[in-house]
């Protein structure tokens, strides 16, 4: 397979599903940001706005037996994997009904029942966890593929490069998905990565492609091929998805007024909007129907989260151990 084969597919059920997923992630994030300002969400969030196509399409290429690891910017991955938006929002609000019972928050959202082995706030850390999980499932005779999501910044973490080596060496069924949004916080990728991201992956002996991360169907086709390859026992594959973060690195950034992207650059980046790209493949009626379903679902999610109880402070270290010492 080459990157040239990664064209788009025709309008079908997948087309609608991909639109539903990118739209859900977009609107979830926009609504979550609204809860940061009044303090319903404490600690802020790292918005995924603009990168929705990657989570939506990669997760669409997985079966329910597969697993993912995610990052500090993880809401999109968690939603695309099928987590309940109400429980995710409740987690961001630190409620007992949250995915992690309010113990994890935005950067640690996990739902093991859906194969979400956790968002991880240490840049580059989750790729080695995904590799170990995928290896273990194979040892157990299960047909599981793991996907590790990470950003361009993570490509300079030694541990991630070590994980690429282990995965390739042991032909582990894992797909590495690098979301290159051009920046690690404020550090441009050109100032951070010597050589090229895919060349690093190829040096470990795995196929690596750079694809358009704004077109959900392009990402879907590429990740379907990568997942199939991993499942067939040929080992890991690496996808560098070119994308753009529409908003701040973190919701605190507005207060800090960090100056590192020109308005022209941001406008150009926003002009390739995955929600618009995928939406154009639906009829107006189809789109309107999906949009209104999502608004209804998010209204219910917000009501559920806001109405949920806060954890009881009497036992703040509950769950620290699986077995009490």
């Amino acid at each position: 397979m080459t990157a040239d084969d990664l064209g788009r597919t025709g309008p079908d059920a997948v087309t609608v599903d991909l639109y539903r997923a990118v739209r859900l992630i977009r609107r979830f994030e926009e609504r979550a940001i609204e809860f940061v300002r009044p303090g319903e969400i404490v600690g802020g969030i790292h918005p995924y706005l603009g990168q929705e196509a990657i989570a939506a399409a990669v997760c669409a290429a997985l079966t329910s037996a597969d697993v993912i690891t995610s990052t500090h910017r993880g809401h999109g991955h968690v939603l695309a994997r099928g987590a309940d938006p109400g429980r995710l929002l409740a987690e961001l609000m630190g409620r007992e009904t949250g995915l992690n019972k309010g113990r994890g928050g935005s950067m640690h959202a996990a739902d093991f029942s859906l194969g979400i082995l956790g968002a991880n706030a240490i840049v580059g850390a989750a790729a080695s966890i995904a590799t170990g999980a995928a290896w273990a499932y194979r040892q157990q005779g299960r047909d599981t593929v793991a996907v590790a999501f990470f950003g361009d910044g993570a490509m300079n973490e030694g541990m991630l490069l070590e994980a690429l080596n282990l995965a390739a060496l042991w032909r582990v069924p894992v797909v590495f998905v690098c979301e290159n949004n051009g920046y690690a916080t404020t550090m441009p990728v050109e100032s951070a990565v010597a050589g090229s991201i895919t060349a690093r992956a190829r040096a470990f002996g795995m196929p690596a492609f750079t694809i358009d991360g704004q077109d959900p169907e392009t990402v879907f086709k590429a990740s379907t091929a990568a997942v199939a390859r991993a499942r067939s026992g040929k080992g890991p594959m690496f996808l560098e998805c070119l994308t753009y973060r529409f908003d701040a690195h973190h919701t605190f950034e507005h207060r800090a007024r960090l100056d590192y992207r020109s308005p022209d650059e941001v406008a150009a980046g926003r002009s390739r909007d995955p929600v618009a790209i995928q939406g154009a493949r639906l009829s107006d009626d189809e789109r309107a129907a999906v949009d209104s379903q999502i608004e209804t679902a998010l209204d219910a999610a917000a009501e559920f989260a806001l109405g949920s109880a806060h954890p009881d402070p009497a036992d703040p270290l509950k769950y620290l151990y699986a077995v009490m010492p």
Partner: protein
């Protein structure tokens, strides 16, 4: 009765665990040829999929073990050098240890980290002579430091069966300890339960690992002078057997801790703090430790000068006995 060495006891614990539980597997550097002797004979018995030689990539393979644990396995990692734990502090402390709480109890991370040869290794100098058990106790990672072959067996088996991350330090000074053991009596030793290694009346000496041997030798020596020393070995540094220590101190009302870690914020400091909060003592407690911020120098005389020794222990015991 057959003699069992500490290292052989750990080897047996690994073999028995691999044998009884298919989810157990070992990983580490040069473990197929058993460079440290810990894994001797295990490759031929259990095969390369369960005795996994890793490339030199400690950070990735430590997290790899976490991932495998999340997928239902029970990995045991051998680290060749104690200071490698500094390299993987993030992976043990910030990842494996925190997963259960951060996910609201959705998962468990039963990884065991074994350091074969912790502490001074006689002439290995600054970067090979650390004994960092205090660091893991401080953050709440379950931490065991066995003193005897039977405990090395029993605590390692328990660590592997435990559903949480556990670091096991096998001090290099204890690896050669041998003990008469009927192999059929080898059994798991629960984490967090100490033992009185030698009963006594006049003073309690707390020691773990190789220092238990030193404390017992000193107790023998002082017995001749009419001093009765009780040696308390908590076995597990975290969680600590507070009840066991309380029972001992209730009897002796005097306390000395000998601890092969640095003085400030060390394990001995913790035991003394507990004593101050909870016990009624007849004299202020004392501690024998490495100096503040110590790094082990190479020259043997200097290495020895940094480690807590028997003479210092005798002096500390005499001091708490004199203190009225």
């Amino acid at each position: 009765m057959p003699k069992l060495s500490y290292l052989k006891a750990m080897n047996r614990a690994l073999a028995d665990s691999l044998d009884s539980d298919p989810s157990v597997f070992l990983l580490g550097e040069d473990i197929r040829v058993a460079a440290s002797n810990l894994t001797a004979g295990l490759l031929s018995r259990f095969g390369p999929e369960r005795v996994l030689d890793t490339p030199l990539s400690e950070q990735a393979f430590t997290n790899f073990a976490t991932g495998a644990a999340l997928a239902g396995m029970r990995p045991v990692i051998e680290f060749q050098i104690p200071s490698l734990l500094f390299l993987v502090f993030e992976q043990i402390v910030n990842q494996a240890h925190k997963f259960s709480l951060m996910t609201g109890g959705q998962c468990k991370v039963p990884v065991t980290y074994v350091v074969t040869g912790s502490g001074s290794r006689t002439g290995w100098a600054g970067q090979h002579s650390d004994h960092p058990y205090t660091l893991f106790a401080h953050v709440g990672v379950k931490t065991v430091v066995p003193a005897t072959p039977m405990d090395a067996y029993g605590l390692l088996v328990s660590a592997i069966r435990d559903d949480d991350p556990v670091v096991m330090f096998a001090p290099s000074g204890a690896l050669g300890v041998r003990e008469d053991v009927e192999f059929t009596t080898l059994a798991p030793v629960p984490l967090g339960v100490g033992r009185v290694a030698r009963p006594g009346r006049d003073v309690t000496v707390v020691a773990v690992g190789q220092l238990v041997q030193d404390a017992l030798a000193v107790a023998d020596e002082l017995a001749g002078a009419g001093v009765s020393v009780e040696v308390f070995d908590p076995r597990t540094v975290y969680p600590f057997d507070l009840d066991g220590l309380a029972a001992s101190v209730a009897k002796t009302r005097r306390l000395v801790v000998i601890d092969d870690s640095n003085r400030t914020s060390g394990f001995a400091a913790e035991v003394l703090a507990v004593a101050a909060e909870r016990f009624t003592l007849a004299a202020p407690p004392r501690r024998v430790t490495r100096p503040d911020g110590a790094v082990l120098p190479f020259a043997l005389a200097l290495d020895r000068a940094v480690q807590p020794g028997r003479e210092q222990l005798v002096a500390a015991i005499n001091a708490v006995l004199e203190d009225k």
